[in-house]
């Protein structure tokens, strides 16, 4: 029989990288993302009995992490940087002509309004469906579809080559 500790070990090893990345893109700060990830897993450990399906593990953790992130706002004036000041890797701070697509997308992502960034993160990193994101963010699925559509448009627009495609995708 698998012990609770070994189940938790497996959970951490399988999900910690994605969870950290989600935290990073949520708060834009490496140290804070690390702390958020730690705190999320500590809370997850305490309520591990609530996790019934392995497939739902990442979504479950992201839900905990988002609550932890929200608690930071409740506890104190957050040390969050404005969107423009998200800590990007040093390699991303070069001039645009020196940057690859990844760096350009990261830069664009850092500047993305949180109302577009968060649902896109939940979809791409978290694997949530639009309906699940809607339930999590307490908005309609239609609103989520619009947000993730526009988030992609804005990111594509930041990468010049995708500009024309963005126009085609435009919703009426």
């Amino acid at each position: 029989m698998v012990s609770k500790q070994s189940q938790f070990d497996a959970l951490v090893r399988a999900t910690s990288a994605d969870l950290y990345r989600f935290a990073f893109w949520l708060c834009g700060n490496e140290a804070l993302a690390h702390d958020l990830t730690q705190e999320t897993y500590l809370r997850a450990w305490r309520s591990l009995d609530n996790l019934r399906e392995t497939a739902a593990a990442k979504a479950w953790l992201i839900t905990i992490l988002r609550r932890e992130h929200a608690r930071l706002y409740e506890r104190k004036t957050p040390a969050f940087e404005p969107i423009d000041a998200v800590q990007l890797p040093e390699s991303d701070l070069q001039s645009p002509d020196q940057l690859g697509d990844d760096a350009l997308v990261r830069r664009a992502m850092a500047k993305l309004d949180p109302k577009y960034r968060e649902p896109l993160l939940m979809q791409v990193l978290g694997g949530f469906s639009c309906e699940e994101i809607a339930a999590e963010l307490n908005v309609t699925p239609g609103a989520v579809m619009t947000q993730v559509f526009r988030a992609r448009q804005k990111l594509k627009a930041a990468l010049g080559g995708y500009g024309e495609e963005a126009k085609v995708y435009e919703l009426p």
Binding site: V12, W45, R152, Y162
Partner: protein, 241 residues
């Protein structure tokens, strides 16, 4: 599904297309190409989101968790509560067994004094108990009286060790006198005192009369009343008064 709907669908989530979108893609080469570009962008997006993860993150998370688990207040409380419960249970059991041992083995005088503490309100009782009730209690224990042993102000059938006794209080001039009558138990007469309580055991009518008070001044008179109540039926016992 038309091209516009298809483009909306791949702009929303190109990795989760429904059956209608799949059919449209197979019938429209331009939209099929658009899907390929969208999927390529998703790969770019995924790679861009994959910021470097701190080295040893999982190990640090597990270290924090196992450390916290070792010091979790809830977990610490349980052994403490269990210990406390064990102590309480042990004391209760010990007290229970101790009391049972005491009840079965202690001298009658000690049991009688201990019994006073169980019914302290009895000493302040001043309502006169009907003679019939007094006689009824004695008769129930197989020691019938011919009449009441004077004014009885408290009456109860009580356990005393392994015995059933008639517990009475007689309010006298010098204060309340407790009288316990133990049927079918012959104890030699003796006086005793402890914790400010004076006492006397004496055989009477095939049983033993125990008298307790703060002073033994009334013992002779009370004992005489009981002897009279039994009608001198136990001359041997009476002879010891």
């Amino acid at each position: 599904m038309n091209c516009l709907e298809f483009r909306r669908a791949i702009g929303t989530d190109p990795r989760s297309l429904d059956e209608a979108a799949d059919i449209h893609r197979s019938q429209c080469s331009r939209c099929g190409d658009a899907l390929q570009r969208a999927l390529a962008f998703e790969r770019t997006l995924g790679a861009a989101f994959a910021v470097p993860v701190p080295q040893g993150l999982a190990d640090r998370v597990l270290l924090a968790q196992t450390t916290a688990a070792l010091h979790e207040p809830a977990r610490r409380r349980w052994p403490a509560l269990a210990l406390a419960a064990t102590i309480v249970l042990s004391v209760a059991l010990g007290a229970g067994f101790g009391w049972r041992w005491f009840s079965l083995n202690a001298p009658l005088a000690d049991l009688a004094i201990a019994h006073l503490a169980h019914e302290p309100f009895a000493l302040s009782s001043r309502a006169l108990v009907a003679e019939a009730e007094v006689r009824g209690q004695f008769a129930a224990l197989g020691a019938p009286l011919q009449h009441a042993p004077g004014a009885v102000h408290y009456l109860m059938n009580c356990p005393l060790g392994r015995h059933r006794v008639v517990h009475m209080v007689l309010q006298r001039e010098s204060g309340p006198v407790t009288a316990l009558y133990v049927p079918r138990l012959h104890e030699a007469r003796r006086e005793f005192g402890r914790d400010g309580v004076r006492g006397r055991e004496q055989p009477l009518a095939g049983g033993t009369l125990i008298l307790l008070a703060t002073s033994d001044r009334e013992f002779d008179a009370v004992a005489a009343q009981f002897r009279g109540a039994f009608g001198g039926s136990d001359s041997g016992a009476l002879g010891t008064l």
